[in-house]
């Protein structure tokens, strides 16, 4: 994939790296996670309008 193709794509080809598995079960950003939990405890999730979905496929 060229850099031009990458930039034109919303979902690029992802290179897997076994080294990154070491982070999978670690919380790398504990303060942000705590803040997110606090906000969710206060606000829950927003109400959504009834939706009509199209079956568009991402590039």
């Amino acid at each position: 994939m060229t850099i031009e193709e990458l930039n034109a794509s919303k979902v690029p080809i992802i290179v897997f790296d076994k080294k990154l598995e070491q982070f999978k079960d670690k919380v790398l950003f504990p303060e942000k996670l705590a803040k997110a939990k606090e906000i969710l405890s206060k606000g829950g999730l927003p109400q959504r309008k009834n939706k009509i979905t199209d079956n568009k496929t991402w590039q």
Partner: protein, 153 residues
Amino acid sequence: MNKPKYFYRSEPFLTVYEFTSEGPKGSIKKMVQFTDTGTENIYNLAFGDYDEKTKEINDLAVTNNGDSLKVLATVASTVYAFTKKYPNVWIVATGSTNVRTRLYRMGITNNLAEIKEDFDVYAFTFEGNWEEFIVGEDYEAFLITRKDNNFTL
């Protein structure tokens, strides 16, 4: 988003990503993580600089590497990858500082039309409510989900 972005690496679950910012300050490794919040199908999105010597993340660093838009586009791209694998998730994001939160708001504002083609975008007001993202308003946090996600609490 169809903007310049960096190549990145991930692990098979697509919860952790790594890429390298290139600019006048040199090569700076960045990490992106989607973390389970403990609430079903809601994940926290966070990213920051990774120091390979100390093995620590710094999400307060002001890198000034001249590529903040490219970094944001890369992070946005990980959202597409993550939600393609997990289409029922909601993703919450907050900045580590008010300045950083405003940067995220600008990033959403500048790409809102394109983002809204695929996602519903909400923002958390300082009054403690979620509302649909409004350009020009100041917010505490952001929440997005795919338009075709019908999961709710």
